[in-house]
Amino acid sequence: MDNIDHFKNYMNKIKADTELKENTKNYVREALSDREQKTKRHIGSFLIKDFFSKKVLAPVCSVAACVLLSIAGYAYYTTPVNFVSLDINPSVELGVNALDKVVSAEGINDDGKSLVKRQKIAHMSVGDAINALVTEASEQNYISEDGSTIIAITVESENNRDVTNLQRVCEKGIQSALGSMNRDAVIYKGSAGLSIRAEAEDLDISPGKLKLIQYLQTLDPDVSVGQYRDSSISEIISEANKLLTEDGFPENTNGKPEGIAGEILEAAEQLKKARDESSEGTQDINHDKTKDDGLLKEDSDN
């Protein structure tokens, strides 16, 4: 074990105890309320007393306290802390707050913009929002009946726990939508750091799709973002699978592909199965095509 591991292992053991957290919460609540009291004293010293009777002043200050607390809480509620890209071929990016509610929704391409327009998903839980979008996408025939569509969920976050949680919640939303529409699809789960968003915005592409194209570029340096900007996730993953199987893929000691390579190979395998079954004339594919773990360990440095 090297020194960095020693350092990290020890620091990971350091936690804030419950008493400390509870004392802090109580302090913050009281301090915000105290500010209201100072406001009251300020008003009292500069205004003519009989202009404001107690009957007016007390409720006004109560409202001021509520407003002050509300401003802090409102700001916290409306600030997205994580983002989720949904890519089928419509591409949508959702801003998710600390309570896992959708506080922003942006269509990245024209199809995505149309999808977002048709569904009012603001303030929904992220799972319900994903459910609504996938249902709409299915109704708009973006999800093929033979189960050969890949639906990609990319969680953009710096927190591994949030990544796992949001991937799980979004996958459930997708499965629920597919179930109600009697459709099947391959679900691809990925993750990226928040820093990818700025680059994606410059290139006018969803962060989830950009992440996959960047991986494609590591396999073939001649690939450009422009080539695959308008491609579906299925097409990008198929191409990556082709390059991986031509060149061999990275393996860990258990002989299984790891990281994003493993994710892509598994998704491609499921896609191939769906296509084979479809070509054999199977019309109703009712079994689930889900993956267990989409956490991309190697992407923590994004």
């Binding site: 620091m11 302090y27 301090a31 915000l32 916290y76």
Partner: protein
């Protein structure tokens, strides 16, 4: 109105639960007694809720909280009162090995700014440019501090 206040209360609770461990780790690097740690927690989180509307996403929130916590801890370390009257309390967590113990003791002895860079780079995983941007200092300054801190640690301890 009651539901709205409850939601804000939940928001305060949620944010503190989310970031408390990070703030506590930074306090560990600088502070030795419970009172100072409580002091930092209260000031940092109250400031956070008054400024959170300016912080556009989680990355910025974490960066802001880190920065404010480090500054508060370093200011406390400089205070005359604290240098002379602070009581050293047992706040240590047992070390897994003598090597780990030696390393942590040497890290804690580093200068305040050097400790900050070591923590942000090796534990939080920030890159040098990110640290430079957060602290509004030159990238080369960050490189120098990191190099110096690593050299000092290497002189004091040996790799396992």
């Amino acid at each position: 109105m009651t539901n709205h206040l409850k939601e804000n209360d939940d928001a305060i609770s949620h944010a503190i639960e989310k970031y408390a461990d990070m703030v506590r780790r930074i306090c560990f690097l600088y502070l030795k007694n419970r009172e100072d740690v409580e002091d930092v927690f209260q000031e940092v989180f109250l400031k956070y809720f008054l400024h959170v509307y300016q912080l556009k996403d989680e990355q910025h929130q974490r960066a802001w909280l880190c920065s404010v916590t480090f500054n508060k801890c370093k200011n406390l370390c400089k205070s005359f009162w604290r240098k002379n009257v602070v009581s050293i309390e047992e706040m240590e967590i047992p070390y897994e090995s003598p090597q780990q113990g030696e390393l942590l003791k040497e890290v804690l002895k580093l200068a305040p700014d050097d400790k900050e860079v070591i923590y942000l780079h090796y534990f939080e995983g920030w890159t040098i440019p990110e640290i430079a941007e957060m602290k509004k200092i030159n990238v080369n300054t960050v490189y120098s501090r990191l190099r110096y801190a690593k050299k000092r640690l290497r002189q004091k301890i040996q790799e396992v």
